[in-house]
Symmetry: C2
Subunit: 195 residues, 2 copies
Amino acid sequence: MMAVYDDMNEKTKEKIQKSFLQLLQEKNFIKVSVQDIAKASGINRGTFYLHYLDKYDLLDQMEENLLAGLEVQLERLQPDRLLLEAEKGNISMHAVEVFRYIQLNAETFKVFLGGNNRVGFHKRLKQFFVEHFLEKMISNELFFNSTTVPQDYLSSFATSAFLGLIEQWLDNDLAETPKQMAEMYIQIIFFIKNL
Amino acid sequence: MMAVYDDMNEKTKEKIQKSFLQLLQEKNFIKVSVQDIAKASGINRGTFYLHYLDKYDLLDQMEENLLAGLEVQLERLQPDRLLLEAEKGNISMHAVEVFRYIQLNAETFKVFLGGNNRVGFHKRLKQFFVEHFLEKMISNELFFNSTTVPQDYLSSFATSAFLGLIEQWLDNDLAETPKQMAEMYIQIIFFIKNL
DNA sequence: ATTCCACTAAACACACTGTTCAGTGGTTAT
DNA sequence: ATAACCACTGAACAGTGTGTTTAGTGGAAT
């Protein structure tokens, strides 16, 4: 039984991640040094390197975790059902759950999507949506068979639009409820559908 | 007459910017050092600091220049006329010019919008579009008076969608002509109009 | 002729990096 | 109880890049 050591490792990792997130709210990722992180976490600088390769690795793992959580929500969201329900005027519970996940991790999303980030979490998130949701949706011939706009443009356009919605929500400090967001989202889907 | 010195200054600045752009195509902004830039430009490292505060300032000025050029194109593009023409099935010459400008500076746009950038040129470009074009368009009550979706969401959504179109174009190595892009763009405008 | 200007070359202190190594204290296994 | 184990500490290390400064070069303007 080495669960105690696993807990220890996890707890310091959590301390590091929490302090890192706080620092990112104050200043640029670039200007946050490993020294800063260690100091803010109350750990030795060497300890940081026992858990992460460097600060880029730290950011990478945190982004990965956030997306992994999002993936769980998106997997439950079946495009076919979503559209069928929407046509009856119902909002899928699963769609609301997606926005609730974002709400739950709002601070993290805000920091990663904000200007203080490195490679553009935006790009990564966009790619993620295209792969995990939009491709299934658009390739569904039942709903989307536009001949006027090429599929790759349709895909990029729709995903960006969706992300724009989320970014605005975060900028508004989540003034709307997840349900309201899901409703807007459904409206966008119908736009594209009626292309 | 000190035009000779001005020329000299400009030429070294151009050398720096050109080398910088090349370096950004190879590696991350973060991994590009002032030493690298100086070496690639064939200038002394100290000379770099005679023109720029640091590499962040260099990137900032280049982004600024790119947007300034774009602003010139966007100013000619009058939302009212654009829509009136579009309804008749005509594509505004000015709309095509906007895409031609992007085509002309494709390499720069690609590098700045790609993952190798710092604060996300994406964010800046989005803000730029909202300020210089979309606000005029959406606040034009003649065309947009949606009550179902709040204006800020509409704005963010529409701008992101437009940017998504451009990103896809760049990813496709500008396979489409500026005219084709302008046509797609008009289609998007009509989507939003018919919300 | 001399002042002006962009640029060079070299040196400077400083900050952060990633690694290493001996040591501490609590936990687990024998 | 003793020994092995493990996460962590503190301090040192060379290495790299930073931004600044100094003295000096050579061409252009006055």
